[in-house]
């Protein structure tokens, strides 16, 4: 295995340009005060001082993806036929500059789309053709809680290369075999002594994170509260039931499929869906099993901290990036809801014991 490499700040754009020769490179750039992932173009500098406002999931799992196109033709005599054309093929990509939480998000996707008995060809093609160069965090924001979910500021899960910012550049370490190939560029030099500096950056970042709260009781607590409408009504009071949290979340993987007709032709799209929306669970009969925002929030929190871990060996469907807290228009805090659920169930259990 190749040792760690050093990439100087001056050579960063050259390196990205070099990577760009074989694949589309996406990086975080600032737009209107927010940071979003955009194809790397000449002259742009990546915004790396803090985590992006949007998550990197859109590169692999676009907010709206064309699955195929169709054209209807009506022949004489009333017979009609349909011609199908495949949608755009996924071109190899590389994501540079996501934080460990964003990269970890893809591993939550993987289990759903490629891990079990179902194999999603669209997702698989995109995922297998996307490399991820992750930037380790130097310090947490108030909304960060990656250590609660078993991750951390230098978690390599889901990445191909982990870059750690050091004086004058980055120390790059390969995490996967594909990542190793990326480190063969002549623009990189051996990291040597800088590896120690990178290690100290990492351990400082880990130490700066407030201690993790124990949420191991979350799956059963949330399940125990499933029918407690009062609890969900209370915690969802201030929720606006918009989709900011889901669409920014690196682990939210739900989608909807629609046919968008334009006359006799059209396309079938797969787009992000949002469980906080009324339409998400609306049935054709008009019945809606999740009619209120309390039902919908219960599903969102429950899915991440109870139902998903039940199906996936206890793995939480949350990467602790805090985007849902940071960007919520009314500052809802999912950490608070989970802790509240655990406390509520614990208090109830104590009561039972006393009785």
């Amino acid at each position: 295995m190749t040792g760690a490499k050093f990439l100087s700040k001056e050579k960063l754009l050259d390196w990205l340009a070099e990577l760009g020769q074989t694949r589309r490179v996406f990086m975080p750039v600032e737009e209107g005060g927010k940071i979003v992932f955009r194809p790397c173009t000449n002259g742009d500098t990546p915004a790396l001082v803090r985590d992006a406002s949007a998550s990197p999931k859109g590169v692999v799992f676009p907010s709206s993806a064309e699955l195929f196109r169709y054209t209807k033709t009506k022949a004489r005599g009333g017979k009609s036929s349909m011609e199908l054309k495949p949608g755009t093929e996924f071109e190899p990509a590389l994501i540079f500059g996501t934080r460990p939480c964003g990269a970890r998000g893809f591993t939550i996707f993987d289990r759903v789309y490629t891990g079990g008995k179902f194999n999603d060809p669209y997702y698989r093609a995109a995922r297998e053709n996307t490399l991820i160069v992750t930037l380790a965090c130097e310090g947490p924001e108030n909304t960060c809680f990656c250590n609660w979910v078993g991750s951390g500021p230098d978690d390599p899960t889901g990445s191909d290369v982990l870059a750690t910012p050091v004086e004058g550049g980055f120390v790059l370490e390969s995490v996967s075999e594909r990542g190793e190939a990326l480190l063969e560029s002549p623009l990189l030099q051996p990291a040597e002594a800088r590896t120690a500096e990178a290690d100290s950056v990492k351990s400082r970042a880990r130490a700066e994170l407030p201690p993790a709260r124990d949420i191991s009781a979350a799956p059963q607590s949330i399940r125990a509260l499933f029918d407690n409408q009062k609890f969900w009504d209370e915690v969802s009071s201030k929720c606006l039931s918009c989709g900011a949290c889901t669409y920014l979340c690196p682990t939210c993987y739900c989608f909807t499929i629609t046919d968008e007709d334009h006359g006799d032709s059209g396309k079938r799209l797969r787009s992000w869906d949002n469980c906080m929306s009324y339409q998400f669970s609306l049935e054709a009969s008009g019945h809606n099993p999740r009619p209120t925002k309390a039902h919908r929030l219960r599903n969102r929190v429950g899915h991440k901290f109870s139902y998903y871990p039940q199906l996936h060996e206890g793995l939480l469907a949350c990467c602790g990036c805090g985007r849902c807290i940071r960007s919520c228009p009314v500052s809802m805090d999912i950490r608070e809801i989970v802790l509240d659920a655990i406390d509520r169930v614990q208090a109830k259990n104590c009561e039972v014991v006393h009785e």
């Binding site: 949007a54 108030n142 606006l240």
Partner: protein, 487 residues
Amino acid sequence: MSVLTGKELRIVGFLCNWCSYGGADTAGVGRFVQPTDLRIIRVPCSGRIDPLFIVKALLNGADGVLVSGCHPRDCHYSQGNFYARRRLEVLKHFLPVLGIDPARFEYTWVSASEAQRWQKVVSSFTERIHKLGPASRLENTALPDGLEKRFAAIASGELPSDGKAATRLEELKDRIHEFLPDLDIVIGWQRGFDALHNTPLFMRSAEDLEKLVWGPLNIHNTATYLPSLRGKKVGVVVKGCDSRSVVELLQEKLVDRENIVVFGMPCSGIVDLSKIDRALRERGTGIGRVQAAECGEKGVTIKAGGQEYRFAMEEVAADKCFHCEYPNAVLADHLIGNASPSSSNGKISRQLAAFDAMSLQERMAYWRSQMDRCIRCHACRNACPLCVCKDHCIAQSRDPHWISQEDTITEKLMFQVVHAVHTAGRCTECGECERACPMDIPILAMKRQMNRAIRELFEYKAGTDPEAVPPLLAFQAEEKNIHEGVL
């Protein structure tokens, strides 16, 4: 004619079945020569025409849109065209903010017998559109350099003031304490996940009341929650701007007066967290690293990354607070003191001024660059106190299919137009749409432009009088400020 002299353009015509459609037919039967650019859509009445039909056509490739109905006082349904006149005139004033030349849209009146007039109308409108040439498409506009900088201008002016802000909280708590037993819920604010983020508070007991806070971090509009709590006895703590939303909701009978108790707090301005974030970033830190904050009427002191930063209120106040005319609740059952309004010299907002200074082409390019990062989360809509359709919004309806799932800039912008048009004459400019946007897209500009049109045309300001009729739900046979009939 144009088809003979050059390339045909795409013009969409919405014609009333009872008059103009017949007029066009008469013109055809009479062999009046007409240009062939117009594609006619027959509608039952000009009152049937949703302004969104016109915007959708213009955003999706029409070079011009013509609406023609029955002459005023001649409507088959007696009043449809009166309402249409108001809506269409408002739309004409609104289009420029999108970067669409208002000359590409016209409405006029032609009766079934006026074949000659129809010929004149359709000829002169087609000629007009040909002079303007093909419309520029949103997707193809390129952003000129330095446009972002023009918006960087900082809002300035006077903020409202309340000398006794510090003692107001105790007074408020006492008052709520007194009424809480008769109420199901009282909505206020509490401290959120960090020192700069407050969050709405739903008080159900005296214990909850202790969490109540007051100050410039109470940025959320509490009135947003009222329609969803209909049927309950609800107390609501409001700033001046929030109270205007309450008035509007009452006016539209979306909440019941007898079930609502309004606690009006004098406001001396709220902060804009995006401005604080920007200021902190310029100093090498960010809003995510704030450790402590002290926020008062004069400004904010923030501790972040071991350093202390102080910002005057003028630097970080929300734009809407400058020249605020209503720092006190317009309607309240309990008024906790009085703030002095800032002097409002009829100044227009910084945002609108920046738009006014741009060419139409630049405005379209600006929206293209801004809407690109929209994630379609609908936070703008759900935070809007007047968007009461929420679960049944036409943005998510498949039939009628107003907005598709394609994430093109046109579709995203179209949704913003839907929001602006559906709140026309109702919007109180509380700014929740823009504040809620997780991508900081300056969508309030559209509502500001709409409100300017409403003010100029109908001398009306939403959310100030619970008895008033919103201007688009009314008409006058002779409109004072509308002068149609240019074709």
